[in-house]
Symmetry: C2
Subunit: 648 residues, 2 copies
Amino acid sequence: MTASKRNVYLKTIPLNEAVAKTQAALDRDLLLRSKMVPTHEAAGRVLSEAVFAEFSSPTFHSAAMDGIAVIAKETFTAREGAPLRLTKGVSYLPVNTGNPLPEGYDAVVMIEHVVSVDENTVEIETPAFPWQHVRRIGEDIVATELLFPQNQQISAYDIGALLSAGIWEVRVWEKVRVCIIPTGDEVLDFEKRPTPKPGQVIESNSQVLGAMARSLDCIVDRIPPVPDVPELLEQIVEEKLNSPYHVVIICAGSSAGSKDFTRSTIASLGDVIVHGVAAMPGKPSLLGVCKDKLVAGAPGYPVSAVICFEELLTPLISWISRKPVPARPVVEAELTRKVPSKLGIEEFLRLSVGKVGDKYVATPLARGAGCITTMSRAQGVGRIPPQAEGIDQNAVVHTELLVAEKRLDEVLVTVGSHDNTLDILSDELMGLDTPMRLASSHVGSMGGILAVKNGSCHMAGAHLFDPETKDYNFPFIEKYLPDTDLTLVNLAIRHQGFIVPKGNPKNISSIEDLADGSIRFLNRQRGAGTRILFDYHLKQAGIKPSSVTGYDKEEFTHMAVAVNVLTGAADTGLGIYAAAKALDLDFVPLARERYDLIIPTAHLETPQIQSVLELLQSPTFKARIEALGGYETSLTGTIMKPGIGLGE
Amino acid sequence: MTASKRNVYLKTIPLNEAVAKTQAALDRDLLLRSKMVPTHEAAGRVLSEAVFAEFSSPTFHSAAMDGIAVIAKETFTAREGAPLRLTKGVSYLPVNTGNPLPEGYDAVVMIEHVVSVDENTVEIETPAFPWQHVRRIGEDIVATELLFPQNQQISAYDIGALLSAGIWEVRVWEKVRVCIIPTGDEVLDFEKRPTPKPGQVIESNSQVLGAMARSLDCIVDRIPPVPDVPELLEQIVEEKLNSPYHVVIICAGSSAGSKDFTRSTIASLGDVIVHGVAAMPGKPSLLGVCKDKLVAGAPGYPVSAVICFEELLTPLISWISRKPVPARPVVEAELTRKVPSKLGIEEFLRLSVGKVGDKYVATPLARGAGCITTMSRAQGVGRIPPQAEGIDQNAVVHTELLVAEKRLDEVLVTVGSHDNTLDILSDELMGLDTPMRLASSHVGSMGGILAVKNGSCHMAGAHLFDPETKDYNFPFIEKYLPDTDLTLVNLAIRHQGFIVPKGNPKNISSIEDLADGSIRFLNRQRGAGTRILFDYHLKQAGIKPSSVTGYDKEEFTHMAVAVNVLTGAADTGLGIYAAAKALDLDFVPLARERYDLIIPTAHLETPQIQSVLELLQSPTFKARIEALGGYETSLTGTIMKPGIGLGE
């Protein structure tokens, strides 16, 4: 079990080089065949050969308007006030849009310009010029002309053109068929709806990659997870290579772990082209060619697997299927905090992006490759190039959007303290007629105030208690944001206390119980209002932080604290009642506090903030907050002034 | 048959008002239900309710790296050059990525930083800090937290998050079910693969609208065309309204024609909400609500039907299905020619868009609502607002792209004379490793020279013969583009002559046969090289243009001239051999001429022009040109200099 005995990657190469090397090793003409499909089922398909029109469209001169067909040169005398009288069958004939122009006629007068005199007589007051309102033969399509070149992807519109030209079938490239093979002794088949035990994870990467492959119009099959038995894996991969798949993706196992058999499998069935790319996440990606087919090894971490697919497989599958690589819209956004990065590696940042005032702001989400929710929550992705050691706060980052740019107008950026009512707010916002998406970063109350200062959010959630004045938030705002015009609106009053296991086995009843170090406590991060509250109560009780076991262990949310208590990783932590209740834990109340939304007055009239203010007045919303337990809504939606405290 | 007897629309309303009125008349909560679907099949679906996590992810503290688990506080003495020795089972345990952290351990050291001493002993040279390379419980997902709010559209990533959180099924909004009913006595069912006679058209709008609806994830059915029998139409629409469809679209028949029964059908089964929108194309669109369902009448012209769908039905279907309206990327592009427009109507221009030098240029395509190929050939759509009377040449137009912005780098903009070899070039360009899309506007040779002058194309095709010098193109360039550095490359030498019906029934043998006016000639438009050539030969033969019957009738391409000859609309026209051959017509040679590509030298190194220059050297390309007949490739790909003439 040393470095030398493992599959340590020899060297990493840039992503574009990895793609190019694999293209050079693959013969796409051999890999993908063409086939005939009915034209009306061909939307999205790619033509494998040029298409020439069979018929012209229209195939005849036709009326382009409802009205009358006339002979242009006989109408030249018509004038306003001097109407020209025409006789049916002699100098005019009624026509509807699409009718063939009667023999001998060469223009159409719109019905709106025709005055009926009797059944066989009309008058017009304007002359017609030749071919007026006439669709001439071949106006749209001329028989035998090139309709579409090879490799054109057929749009909905193109189907109209093809059918109009009498093309009933077209030759297109086959769809790429992909087989996804999850591996690993530790992964559980999601189809069995398992409950994971420690050491086990639910297999889901195959479904993420599968959905991405289907969005490229691939046909995707997935087999149940294959255990870590190299002979078995090799046998199954070989079987799939002998089936009509173009691409085989082996999921997980491609990290450098001692149980990784993907590399050896590819090597024994063909050639490993790439092992290791200069990207993070995504570094342990594998690409190979076996039996003229593309075989990929996707890393086990979900975000690594996503990057592997999007940066390597998407361009390769697009190239095989002769489609343009899907391009994301791009905006330039200001990064809300500094992100350091490793030289020589292209790092992919998941970014929560919104428009605050006139600028786009991008907040980096957690960087761990294991957090698939960072992809879910991101509106965009940024790249730190290999030659950079990071990106500074407020630097502009080229942001590839995962949503249409227009959707960013519907993102409400909130930064600050975490609270469960924000989940309810988030859900209610999406139920509005014009839905709003809450993008919230949990960096504690002080973090929220700094974000307001930096102009990087629409609002900040804070519950900062000032022991001196016994007021909330205002003393901190006066100190850190003296020059900003702000409006504070209360979200709720909430109960903070000790989250303890069901039955309270350590019998915690007050903060004094933490004094002797026998209780394993779990703290919140610096700047969190809950930590400030804890420090205040410690001081009141005359307890030194250093005597509290676990004072230095930090979590970022109430729910994370509760989970640690649930699993026994800690005996208790300070948090809100809702977090204890959610996990069926017990709760020892310590204090009530005010949780406010700090809103720069400049943003008050934005649709984002207006939506929030509307919801704060909604009885349904208040009822949902009350139902969580541990909340009071007596101040909810009220504009706060200094000195109100808890409003009692 | 007068205006008053027809369905003349009473008034038109703006598109957004039409949508809002229809939303107000529809109850989407009544219309669309929710249903449970398996999570792994839910990509693209919209949640009808919030989803909260069942499990945390991970459910245990786990190793985030391959390496060894250690107890952080026991490693603080490790230093570079002063390695710390650890014993297996005492102070370290081997772990792979994903393994649970063994009881009592709280950090992981990466395998790359571990030196193996013997089977039970390792050394490290850096201390570990607590929780280093450890994924803690709930790092990604905390049980009971809000995963996604209601109305969230599920992405591929979201599927990973849902499965990781133990969510096997989700409640989503049903797919919108659409029934499309084509109507009209004159339309032919494309499924029968018909050959249209005059007055008949192949029904294709249902397939264009169907493909667009499927791209919104609707389930679409289409029935064969219904003849113009009002009772029958009403019966069929009622039957479909009683079936589980949410939306019924009646195609065609909604122009104000005398055979239009869509309006009366909707009125008899429910309410007409909108008839007539202030848009062109698309004006005769109808929207109604019958039996709580949405019923639309799409106009008969294909582009009108497209606008009706995209501007009215797309927002309505998106609203019903709680999805954001698909947004197109936007660029600002310079309009290459003036477009007048009617006040009070929003006009949709189909634009051929490319990047020439540093700017985007947009060339308006034909404006007829009957030309579906204008949608196929467009890279973008521009809107002329109702309050404008048009857009000036070189004005900037807000262009909604039909392709990703990045794809515009692959558009080769050519303006000028039409030639069939451009079709071959277009096809070959799309077969390159980096495909290029030829966007060509046919405005004649002089039009091409003016486009070069205006900086609105990468190259122009011209075959302008100068009678004085007997040279091609250079005398015109010297006159109109004296200050531009240009490179001329020959595309081909081609044969021009009289296109005549098979067997040459009028026995045309030379230009003199046109002198007595007995031959119905069809001319090309002013500025076309072919017209200049014709004028030269007329003058040489001493024939006055006014004595040639049809001298004033103009077509814009060789193929259009040939089609007119084929259908008997003209006895002959001047054109290239390839056009005659394509339609199996006969050809009476008149002259050989040079067709060159005029390339601003500044564009010579662009990928677009480099692709062309590469192809002009390709024997395959030359062979395809020769195979057309009527072309010589002796000069193809050669840089032209003044005075070369035909190179003989």
